[in-house]
Symmetry: C2
Subunit: 390 residues, 2 copies
């Protein structure tokens, strides 16, 4: 016998999403996943070509720990141009190993053990585990029935130990997009209570029915308090390139740089040249067309879910829906998810992966082909018929 | 005013190596760096071509969190073939964001706050900072005058709180390569005291004068206790590709996978295909030729350092030397390093970057061109002449 490993890691679960994915792989070749958080398109050639050119030019030795200057400049300009943050300069930017490391750096640099953070629940699963890893207490309050933030509830959780509030709009897993009123209320909470705000904006391009995205860092008084997290992962079909970034005060960025030096020593060098092209020429992506296509998927899913008697909230962003199981079915989301993948080879993640307030809901990612969406819902229909639930 | 950031990160210093590098950049266009830990060659085309092909084939969405199966298989075979570890299987392997993240995962998964670790000093600077970040106590014992490990000294530092011992052979910054006796003694310490052993082997190919590298995991009783860290960074001129790996028990790897999922969500996908080619066709690198070339640089440096009256230990590995300043000069390594870069635009890292027992030594990386080595030493000679020290 050897000594025991880290308690926090031993106690953290393998991602339920990945676990479900493993079950799906075992369940047969006709498997359908509504489970994975990535687009059905891959990285466009104009981005890959930038990486390939850098490889051909042998740009494969260390990049600066905070990212190559050209990319930090391109990110600063992106923040200025698209997020109404005219004060953003390269010194306010650090390049990260995807949105996940952007998040890790935020937790690392903001908190001391024993600090507290606050978020609306359900929310993205890493938010909870990172709190454990950094020994901070994650306090969650249930979203309102329409998935909007419960501002009074958030307020009640604030204590002298609270260090930051975390938001993700457009949201994974609910698809909810903050209204102007939501954002104003959260910004007021942050300023009135001397907090930081971590704003995960990776789904900012996925907006429907005229919804708009606002970066909280653009509000007066929020420049020093906001950590704006983003990545090329979702917008450019590049989840596997692991290229994210943070925009924040230069003090925060300087401290993130120290941490990244000793923990991962910076980000893949050639990929950074691809990211420069992505951000400087994002018009080549034709986002309106992508969004139109995703909106049709979204509408189709909502229609099917309603027909199948799920309780559906109609969100305006991202590529997720989080319907509640019909209470009359008397089934937990964990059971539904597990039995569905076993019997019908369709993967939908149980709401329990996303915090303490969604054990009666499923997350449906509709970032898949129209054919698979139809087939997947046909199988869910058959699953419910088998049980005489519809 | 906003609340204070993380104390451990605020208290950690920006890497002295990076700081020196910044000073060097400011010091003029004829700057010479003996400071950076990477080879003077870049990634060979047969490796880059693998990445390019993966990009062309749109392999840019998420890879599995622990790495693509082909790469984990190639790494397991490499361990079997080159490191005498016949039990290594893909389940014993995880792919990381360079050797740095391999190290981070080792600290994360092994330790609870308050645990202790032990190492010989001087040693690589991240080892110390990671101990702070994971709230474990790093106990260091000075190396013997020939830079070999002080086994009795290491033994005396072991307490009931000691979780692991960390070794790096061939070593950064001393160049020291463990003898069979050194390794046997360390392995006995680990087994007798029920510890883990973290073995950082990134310089394994850089061996001179018939020195050999032994992986401690190959010793009886060490399979469950050893975390073998490596990377393609140094051997394949690929520090900027950020591709490392860990070999260990499947229990350790499974826990590392959970941690990597939530902190960085895996490694750049296309680069993993390049790494498969690197490891499966490493004979294309012609390491004997590289080593012969580096050995000549090493011998040249030792000769110059001796002529300049440094106290030189002649090591057998890596691409570093760690000469002591001549005591008669009455100069600290910090002052020497800082004044040398200011006056002569030559960067050598002060020994204080590498722990508490080398404030009288410099680290010289000789991984640069022969011309720059000559010019650099000529300038050091001039620097010493200016002060009438030689």
């Amino acid at each position: 016998m050897v000594k025991s490993l880290s308690n926090v890691i031993l106690n953290s679960k393998k991602s339920k999403i990945r676990k479900l994915f493993d079950m799906l792989l075992q369940s047969g070749s006709d498997a359908i996943s509504f489970g994975i958080g990535q687009t059905d398109f891959t990285t466009p050639d104009f981005v890959s070509d930038g990486i390939i050119q850098a490889l051909r030019e042998h740009k494969t030795l260390y990049a600066p720990a905070r990212g190559i200057p050209q990319l930090r400049e391109a990110i600063a300009q992106k923040f200025q141009r698209e997020n109404n943050l005219p004060w953003m300069k390269p010194e306010n930017v650090i390049v990260t190993n995807g949105g996940s490391q952007a998040l890790t750096l935020a937790y690392a640099v903001l908190s001391n053990p024993g600090d507290e953070m606050i978020l609306s629940s359900p929310n993205f699963l890493s938010y909870y585990y990172l709190a454990d890893y950094y020994q901070i207490k994650c306090k969650e309050v249930s979203r309102n029935p329409d998935h909007s933030p419960n501002i009074e509830g958030l307020k009640e959780l604030i204590s002298p130990k609270t260090k930051f509030l975390l938001i993700n709009t457009p949201n994974n897993p609910t698809g909810y997009v903050y209204s102007e009123n939501d954002m104003k209320a959260v910004v007021d909470l942050v300023i009135d209570n001397d907090l930081y705000l971590v704003s995960d904006e990776v789904y900012e391009k996925f907006l429907y029915n005229g919804a708009t995205h606002t970066s909280p860092a653009s509000y007066p008084g929020m420049e020093e308090r906001t950590l704006t997290l983003n990545a090329i992962s979702k917008s450019f079909g590049a989840t596997g390139l692991r290229l994210g970034y943070v925009g924040a005060s230069s003090e925060i960025i300087n401290n993130m740089e120290k941490y990244i030096q000793y923990t991962t020593a910076g980000v893949n060098h050639p990929v950074q040249y691809g990211a420069v092209r992505a951000l400087n020429h994002s018009e080549k992506m034709d986002f309106p067309k992508i969004v139109e296509r995703y909106n049709k998927k979204r509408e189709y899913c909502i229609q099917r879910l309603q027909e199948l008697q799920f309780e559906v909230v109609n969100p305006q962003g991202a590529f997720y829906l989080m319907p509640k199981l019909n209470p009359s079915w008397n089934m937990s989301a964990d059971d539904f998810s597990e039995e569905l993948v076993k019997e019908k080879s369709v993967a939908c993640v149980s709401g329990t992966a996303f915090g303490s307030h969604s054990a009666d809901a499923l997350r449906i990612s509709y970032a898949t082909t129209d054919e698979k969406l139809k087939e997947g819902f046909d199988r869910i229909e058959s699953f419910l018929h088998d049980r005489n639930l519809i």
